[in-house]
């Protein structure tokens, strides 16, 4: 889709008023009922606005990020509740070169039944399915996951567009999105070619993302910026803005394959971009930090970041996700400790 076409689309969306599209593909009951989030229709690429977003002071963001987690402390029952929240916004992920269908089925089983029964009862959450929002896999395993998760309400996300580098022909990348959607993925995590950011080729970046969005159809689009490759927080902010203008439903930090994963300062830059987009357009964009988030404590830090900078609505799976693989186990151990007062061990909890 070219930028001209997108402009027309955006114009139409503006004329129709905000389109309210609930997160698609959910087969089971909602985890908790919340107002549906209006889907971002995107907008024409606005280079003037982009220019005003250049002022990002890394040092100041680092200071804010460093004190954020120290300003807020979550204890006792609240901590248990917040950790459950962390699970509910988790994209349980396996992205290994040696993944197999059986491995993916195991992961799905864990997503369906994340906690030991005694924990479920102890926490008083029986009957309320608190479990990961999605399972995230490579394209070949989409169908497997879809069938394993049928009827659970757990989404299937596919990483796409020549993940993790995004450097195959655009046509191929679009077809990849279409193939995953055809296989039943209702969330598509695309990567951007980071070189476009260094080239400041915002038009091409915008057009590519817009094309991915079109290929997604009803599936939700998460745009991975590969922030570890972008070098400056200014680049992170600018790429975030272009992705949102092009119609991203979520912006996501990392593939997990860059040498630097999701960091709080990067997250702060991205959520401030989301806030700016929301203030200007009224649309709420989701945020997904991914890579390296493996402890319950760090999960709480991210939740605090969302609550402080964007507010309560961004603590729902419609607007916030963790991309994580080993985080769940650490949370289970913390929850056990919460119930028993005894420190737990990994092997006491079912592996994925």
């Amino acid at each position: 889709m070219t930028s001209k076409v997108r402009e027309a689309d955006a114009q139409r969306a503006a004329n129709d008023g905000a389109t309210i599209t609930p997160l698609p593909g959910r087969a089971g009951p909602p985890l908790l009922s919340h107002d549906a989030v209006a889907r971002n229709p995107g907008m024409p690429l606005d280079l003037g606005w982009l220019e005003t977003m250049r002022q990002v002071n890394r040092s100041a963001l680092e200071r804010r990020a460093a004190t954020l987690a120290k300003r807020r402390s979550i204890k006792a029952d609240n901590q248990a509740a917040w950790l459950l929240r962390a699970v509910s916004v988790m994209d349980l992920t396996t992205l290994n070169s040696n993944d197999t269908h059986e491995r993916v089925r195991r992961l799905c089983a864990k997503a369906v039944r994340p906690f030991r029964q005694d924990l479920v009862e102890g926490l008083g959450i029986a009957g309320v399915d608190i479990r990961p929002a999605a399972v995230c896999v490579y394209h070949p395993f989409v169908a497997t996951a879809v069938s394993a998760l049928a009827g659970t309400g757990i989404h299937v996300a596919a990483v796409s567009t020549a993940f993790p580098h995004g450097l195959s022909p655009l046509k191929t990348r679009i077809e990849e999105v279409e193939a995953s959607v055809a296989d039943g993925a209702d969330e598509i995590d695309v990567v951007i070619p980071r070189g476009l950011v260094y080239e400041s080729d915002w038009t091409m970046l915008y057009d590519e993302i817009a094309a991915f969005r079109a290929a997604c159809g009803d599936a939700h689009l998460k745009v991975i910026l590969g922030t570890g490759d972008l070098s400056t927080l200014r680049n992170v902010t600018l790429a975030s803005m272009v992705a949102m203008m092009a119609g991203a439903d979520f912006i996501k930090t990392s593939t997990g394959k860059e040498s630097v994963n999701a960091t709080l300062p990067v997250g702060l830059a991205m959520v401030r971009a989301i806030r700016a987009y929301h203030e200007r357009t009224g649309f709420q964009i989701g945020f997904k930090p991914a890579g390296g988030i493996s402890t319950a404590k760090s999960a709480l830090d991210w939740l605090v970041l969302m609550k402080e900078e964007l507010g309560r609505p961004w603590l729902e799976p419609e607007l916030f996700r963790f991309g994580a693989s080993s985080l769940l186990t650490d949370i289970e151990r913390q929850l056990e400790h919460h119930l028993t007062g005894r420190y737990s061990a990994n092997h006491r909890h079912a592996m994925a």
Binding site: L32, S59, R63, A80, R85, L123, G124
Partner: protein
């Protein structure tokens, strides 16, 4: 609430810091015996006590001994007695003790933090993450200075016994800022913590005993105004270091006038927080949180005046309001508390009174709809917009969580608004354009400037004010200087000149051609306002000539001319160096004439006069050479930031010269002031004023810009008093009789000008390098500009 409900609500809930250790500490002590004097714990001589309360609940935490005058006597005597042995210790020995203090504090840091929050009401996050670590760092940092003292500060020695009085807003941190450099410099100390917050100082006394501080080296006297006044007035104290209100600072300045006590004052502020259109606005909002909502706004350097560029002002205010709505008021011991109670009911009343008045004067005051605890001296964070510079909220230090906002159009206007205050403690500049930020920072009249940051502190960086925010620096090399001294090589006591000095007898013969000496103001020879003349006698008491009898209006005009001469301060240091060297050339070319004049007026032998002229030429040439070398430093705080300790001119300096060595003394005083970029109003030797009127002729053709030097002849003591009372004079250097010196110090309180006197004695201008160096140091203000970086 069950877990599912909490899961839905996603609130923080209480996260209390345990206080049992602090309670146990309090329970196991009789704080009625909390005077730490000569290494022993005593009750006050009169048995007096005062309660200290938890400002969040009003609960009395402890009954603490209240030091009186006789306790101060005992403490000063103990400090005096301990001084020789402490000074005799090697730097290495003192360093090990400072290190031990720092490490012992580190081991007990949570106890310090909890006690501090209990006593002061500051959020535990701040005492735990900011105050206590900074205090510890101060001792560890200064251990290095202690060991390296002789090498780093050759020829300087510790000033002696110091009296230190600290405020309640950062009790432990201010204690560290005071005691660490004092001990490093080899001083012994008597410290009085604030009446509201004595607890951590008492714990610190225990740490001292444990860390091997010799008896009497550190004495701690909890107490009130009586103890403070007794300490300030005590003859056995060599220096007073005070942090607190400008009002009390001025009382101390007056009380110590003429006493010869060294003095450093760290007082109030109304610091500007300038936000340019090209700032990272979201980060600037967080800067404000750290600036004005840190420690409930009870911070001397709080960024209390928001000055924001007009085209982003509304956007920025909206962001500030949104952020304010996220602030949490609550128990100081709750880890989720952003804002605790003000320290006392009286503070709360003061703050709410000022906000009400500001509102009456036209400010729009806004407070977020957030939870206000039912008890305790809490005050909601407040944003006042549309605040005119004339509004009380723009002028008065509120010392509470109240931000006064106004907008500006251009950078020039921002600087003008920022400097439109009697204070000059700190400022923040937010802009992503480094060329703009580094242009504005030097233009701000403030001792500390943070670029894209706020309230950053470190032991390695100097902190202290311009103008009525006080003088002296704390932290870094510049902070050490406040506790060190070089003995001024003073001579005999100067006798006051009789009101009506003997009128010279008529000269034996009239000069070949009559000459009229005038005043030299704004680069022009002008007649004195009063149109009276002062007769100048020669060595035999015969009339040598007449000079203008300057009066207060001439001083007023001279100060105005000096203030208006921007060219000199803005000239490059190289340029100043060249001009002063040219001035030297011209002075040298007139050597014979000046020598003859000295012989004629003072009666010295020709060879002595010749020596004085040569010394003056050499002195002037030296300062010319140093004009572009007496530079600032770069500090390296433990953060990704550099701190530029810039040497900036003090401003307009009044100089009152003595009769002894009239040329050399005048040049010795003028030259360092000029070299560092100050402009000068000089009142030369009254007795030998013709030397100075000869000198202005040299100045006239030496390329100095008009107003850089102004010379007002007349009765020196009288004119000195006028200079001291002139609130647009930034510094005053005075060699004169004791009474005039005392008066100058006392009268300096109007604007807290920096006064240096010879203490009523003559000064040996030939005694080694002390004078040039010491005076260059006095000719500069050190401004610490923090430049955090990272992209």
């Amino acid at each position: 609430m069950n877990i599912l409900q909490r899961y839905d609500a996603m609130d923080y809930g209480p996260a209390p810091e345990a206080r049992n250790e602090a309670d146990a500490w309090l329970a196991h002590r009789d704080l009625g015996k909390a005077l730490f004097i000569g290494g022993a714990w005593r009750s006050a001589e009169r048995g007096a006590t005062f309660p200290t309360e938890d400002p969040a609940t009003g609960e009395t935490l402890a009954i603490v001994s209240d030091a009186g005058t006789r306790d101060v006597d005992a403490a000063v005597a103990a400090a005096r007695q301990a001084l020789p042995k402490w000074q005799a210790k090697s730097g290495y020995e003192r360093a090990r003790i400072l290190y031990a203090i720092g490490r012992a504090m580190q081991r007990n840091q949570r106890l310090f933090a909890v006690l501090e929050s209990l006593d002061n009401g500051k959020p535990i996050r701040e005492s735990r993450d900011i105050d206590v670590p900074l205090a510890i760092r101060h001792f560890l940092y200064h251990a290095g200075f202690a060991q390296d003292l002789e090498n780093a500060f050759p020829g300087k020695v510790g000033v002696g016994v110091v009296g230190q009085i600290i405020p309640w807003n950062f009790p432990l941190l201010m204690l560290a800022w005071k005691i660490a450099p004092a001990l490093a410099a080899g001083c012994t100390t008597v410290l009085k913590p604030a009446e509201f917050t004595p607890l951590t100082a008492i714990l610190f006394g225990e740490i001292c005993a444990q860390a091997g501080v010799p008896r009497g080296v550190v004495n701690i006297l909890p107490g009130g105004p009586e103890a403070g006044a007794a300490l300030v007035e005590h003859a056995g104290v060599d220096k007073i270091a005070f942090t607190g209100s400008s009002e009390v600072g001025k009382i101390i300045r007056t009380a110590t006038a003429g006493s010869g006590k060294k003095l450093s004052l760290e007082l109030g502020g109304k610091s500007a927080f300038i936000v340019f259109e090209d700032a990272d606005l979201d980060s600037a909002v967080e800067g404000l949180v750290d600036g004005i909502w840190f420690n409930q706004g009870q911070v001397c350097c709080a960024g209390s005046r928001l000055i924001v560029q007009e085209n982003v002002a509304d956007t920025f205010y909206a962001k500030v309001r949104a952020r304010m709505a996220k602030l949490r008021l609550g128990s100081p011991l709750d880890k989720n508390t952003d804002i605790g109670p003000l320290v006392a009911a009286v503070q709360r009343e003061r703050v709410s009174g000022l906000v009400a008045e500001g509102s009456r004067q036209g400010a729009q005051c806004w407070q977020p709809d957030i939870m206000l605890p039912a008890t305790g001296h809490y005050y909601l964070p407040t944003l006042a917009t549309g605040v005119s510079p004339a509004n009380i909220l723009a002028q008065e230090e509120v010392f509470g969580p109240v931000l006064a906002a106004m907008s500006f159009r251009s950078a020039d206007e921002a600087v003008e608004l920022a400097n439109n205050t009697r204070y000059g403690l700190a400022a923040s500049v937010w802009s992503e354009t480094i060329s703009r930020a580094l242009q504005v920072a030097p233009e701000l009249k403030a001792g500390v400037v943070w670029i894209n940051g706020t309230n950053m502190f470190d032991a390695s960086c100097g902190f202290g004010g311009y103008r009525e925010s006080g003088f002296g620096r704390e932290g870094g090399r510049e902070g050490m200087l406040e506790y060190l001294t070089v003995k001024t090589p003073v001579g005999r006591a100067i006798k006051p000149r009789p009101k009506r000095a003997d009128t010279p007898e008529p000269a034996e013969a009239a000069p070949f051609l009559d000459r009229t000496a005038k005043l030299f103001i704004g680069g022009k020879q002008v007649r004195p306002d009063g149109n009276y003349a002062l007769q100048i006698g020669d060595r035999k008491g015969k009339l040598a000539g007449e000079v203008g009898l300057g009066n207060r209006k001439d001083i007023r005009d001279a100060v105005q001319a000096a203030r208006n001469c921007r060219a000199w301060g803005e000239a490059t240091a190289y340029n100043r160096s060249q001009v002063l060297a040219f001035f030297t050339e011209n002075l040298w070319a007139r050597s014979d004439a000046f020598a003859a004049r000295l012989v004629e007026l003072t009666g010295v032998r020709a060879s002595v006069a010749r020596q004085e002229v040569e010394a003056a030429v050499e002195r002037l040439f030296e300062h010319a050479g140093q004009a572009d070398k007496f530079e600032g430093r770069v500090h390296q705080p433990p953060a990704r930031a550099v701190t530029l300790a810039l040497h900036e001119p003090v401003g307009v300096i009044g100089i009152v010269g003595p009769d002894e060595a009239p040329l050399l003394s005048l040049i010795s005083l003028l030259a360092p002031a000029l070299a560092m970029g100050n402009t000068v109003v000089a009142v030369p030797s009254e007795q030998h004023a013709l030397v100075a009127t000869d000198l202005y002729q040299v100045i006239e053709y030496s390329d100095l810009p008009a107003g850089a030097i102004n010379i007002v002849t007349g009765r020196a003591a009288e004119l000195a008093a006028v200079l001291a009372r002139h609130d647009d004079v930034d510094g005053l250097w005075l060699i004169g009789d004791a009474d005039t010196c005392r008066l100058a110090e006392a009268e300096s309180v109007g604007n807290l000008k920096r006064v240096w006197t010879g203490g009523g004695r003559t000064v040996d201008w030939n005694a080694g390098p002390w004078a040039p160096e010491a005076l260059r140091q006095r000719a500069v203000e050190i401004k610490n500009v923090w430049v955090p970086y990272g992209d």
